[in-house]
C-alpha cells in the first residue's frame, strides 16, 4: 500500500492580503485586538476589563 505523499502546508495568504504587508492603522490594530483575546485564558481579566482595553487600543490608534 503506497504511503500518501506529504501534506502541503497551510498558508494564511488570504489573511495576509487582508492585513496587508504595510498595515494601515486599522490593520495594525486588528492584530493587537485579536491578541488580547488570544491570551484570554491565560490572564485573569473580566470581559469588562477586556472591553476597556479594546477601547483604549482603538482610542490610541486615532490619536
Amino acid at each position: 500500500m503506497p504511503r500518501p505523499s506529504p501534506d502541503p502546508e497551510f498558508k494564511a495568504d488570504a489573511l495576509r492580503k487582508l492585513i496587508g504587508e504595510q498595515p494601515t492603522p486599522t490593520q495594525h490594530l486588528f492584530a493587537k485586538v485579536i491578541n488580547l483575546y488570544a491570551g484570554f485564558n491565560l490572564v485573569e481579566q473580566s470581559e469588562k476589563e477586556l472591553h476597556a482595553r479594546v477601547r483604549r487600543e482603538i482610542e490610541d490608534s486615532v490619536k
Binding site: D7, E9, A12, T26, V33, A38
Partner: protein
Amino acid sequence: MIFQTLEIKDFLVFRGLNRMRLPAVKDGQTSLILVFAANNAGKTTVIKALKFLLYGHLPHGDVLNLATVADISAGKEVEGWVGATVIVGEKTYTFRRRLSGVKGPGGHIRLEEPVLEQIAHERKGDEYIPDEGSVNRLLTSLVPEALFDFFYFQGETLAEKLMQRSAHASIGDALSALLHHDKWRQAGEAVAAVRAKVFKEMQELTVVNRAYSEKLQLIADLQEKVDASEKQTKGLEEEYKRAAAEYEELSQRILEISSGKSFEQVARKLATAQGEAENQRRAVTQMEADMAAAVGASRGIPFLTGAFGVAKDVLETMRKDNLLPADIADGFLQRLLDQHRCLCGRTLTEEHDDRARGMVEEYRSRALSADVNTGLMELLNQLDENVQRSFHKTSDEIVSRSAMLLRNRKTALVKQKEAESLAASLGEQLRNSNHAEVQRLQGLQNTAVRRREKAMQDRRTADGFLAQQKNMLRTAQEELARQGSGKFGPQFEKLKRVHHRADELAKLIDASLVSLKRSFHTILQHNVSLLYDAVVTDGSKARVDANSLLPAIEQAGTVVQNIGGGQRQLLVLAHIVSLARLRQQLHNELAGLGIHMGRLDDQSFFLDSVFAPADQHYAECIAQFLPGKARQIVVLLASQQWQPWVARHVEPETTKVFKCVLTSPNPPESSRIEYQKRPVVLYEKCAPSQIAYSKMEEVKP
C-alpha cells in the same frame, strides 16, 4: 503537550501505582507507543483518567479501585490520583489530580472534592502545592475541553460523532475552538460593543442639537434593524441548509432501502435531477438577490437620467413651436369639454356642465405660466455636464448589469423547470414501485422540501428588506456627514474618529474570519483527500463540508452513510491528524503576522480501539497510516485487534510497549498476544473471592 509520564493510582480498574514512562521525542521526531490489554482491563480507563486529570470530571460509579478499598478497614482513608509530567515547548510541568475518601462502616466511600496539585521535586522529596488556578488555566488552554475528544478518544465513538449530522452542534463548537474561531468571534463582539458604546456617547453629546440627535437615533435604529435582518437572513440560511440536509439524508435512505437495481437507478437519477433543480433554484435566488442589491444601490439614478432627456425634449419642442405649458393645458381642457367629459373622466351632464366649466376656467387661471417653462429650461441647462455624464455612466452600468442578471435568471429558470419536470416524472416512477417505506420517506421529503422552499422564499423577502434597510442607513449616514458635527467640539470629533475606526475594525475582523475559514477548508479538503482517497478500494472520496468542516464519504457524487467501520475510522483519523497539523501551521502563520494565539505545542494522541471496526484491508491501512503522523501517538489495543496484518506494519515503528495485566478469577476471552515473536501474557488468575483489578507494566524488548 507531550506526555513524559502518566501515573494512575487506585483509579477505577487500576490498583496501586501504575506508571507509564513515555519515550522522549525531539523536535521533528515521532513516537508510537502501544498499550496491550484484554477486554475490561483498562484501555478506556486510561482515557477516563486523562479526562479526570485535565478537567476533574469524575466517571460514574465507584471511582477508587474496588480491590484497594476492599483491603482497608472502615474508618480509614483511601486515595487515588492521576498525575502527569508534560512537556510544553521548553518547559516541563508535573501535576496530579487527587481524590480521597473515608471508608464508612457499610464499605461505602465518602469522597472529598478532587484536588489539583502542582508537584515540585525537592531534595527532601516531592512537594505537593494545591493549585490556585494557574495549572487549571494552563491545562484548559493547552487542551480546551471541547477538543478532548479529538485527541484522546475511542475510535468508533469519535467516528460516530463526526459523521452523524445530529452531532453537528457540539462538534461545530469543538472545531470552532480548534481553529480559534471562538476567540476571533469574541474579539469581533468586543469591538462591536465598543462601537455601540461610543455611539451612545456621541448621542448623549448631541442631545442639545435635536435634529442631529434625531438623525443619530435614526441611524442607531437602522443599524439595529440591519443587524437584526442580517441575523434573520443567516437564520433562514441555516434553516434552508438544515432542510436541504434532511432532504439529502432522506434521499440517501431511499437509495439504501431500495432493493431492486432499477429502483436504485431511478432513485439516483431522481436525486441528481433534484440536486440540479436545487442548484438552479439557488442560482435564481442569488441572481434575484443581486438584482435587488443593484436596484437598491442605484438610488433611482437610471430613472433620473431618463427624466433628463424626456424633460429636455418636451421643453425643446415647446420652445420651437412657441408653445407654453398653459397653451397645452388649455387645448387639452377644451378637448375634454368638447367630449363632454370632466377632468376626472366622468361624462358631463346638463346639470354638471356649468360647474365643470367653472372648474376648467379656474384651472386655466392657475395653469403653468411662461415663467415656469423658462425656469425649467434654465435649470436643466445649468446642470453640470459632468454630473450628467457621471449619472449616465452609473445608469448604463446598472442597466447593463440588471439586463445580464435578468438574462441569466431566465436561463436558470428554464433549466430549473426542466430539472423539476424530470424529477417529477422520476418521482412518479418511484411512487409506482409500491414501496411503502419509500413512499413514507418521500412524504417526509416533501415536508423537507416545503420547509426548504419556505425558507428560500422568506430569505428572498428578507434579502430585499435588508437591501432596502442598508440603503436607508447609507442615505442617513451621508446626510449626517453633510450636516457636520463641528459645533459639538473636539470631544465629539474624537468620538467620531473612534467610532469610525471601531466600525472599520469590526468589518476587518469579520472578513478575516471568513477568509481564514475558506482557506482552511481548501487545505483541509486537500489533506484529507491525500490521506483517504489514496488507500480506499471502492472508489469513494473524502469530502469536507465547507460550512461545518466535518468529514463525509462520497460515492458517485453522493454522500453515503452505511459504509464500513474501517473506512470511517480511516477518514476520521485523516481528518483529526490533518486538523491537528493545520492548527499548528495556523499558529505559525498567525505568529508571522504578529498574532499569537495563546500557547500551542505538538499534540499527543491517545487512541483507543482504532482497529476495532475495521476489516483486514482497512486495519492494515490504519496500521500503515499511524506511524510518523504525530510527535506522540499512544495506541490502546485489545488483544484480539493485534493481528498479523496490523503487527507487521506497527511493530517495526513502535518505540515503547506497555501491557495491562488483568488479575481476575475468570480469564478474559483473549489473554495472550505475541510481540516480536515472544508471548506477552495479559492475565493472572486469582482466588474466586478476590475482586478483579489491573496493573500496567512495561513490556521489555
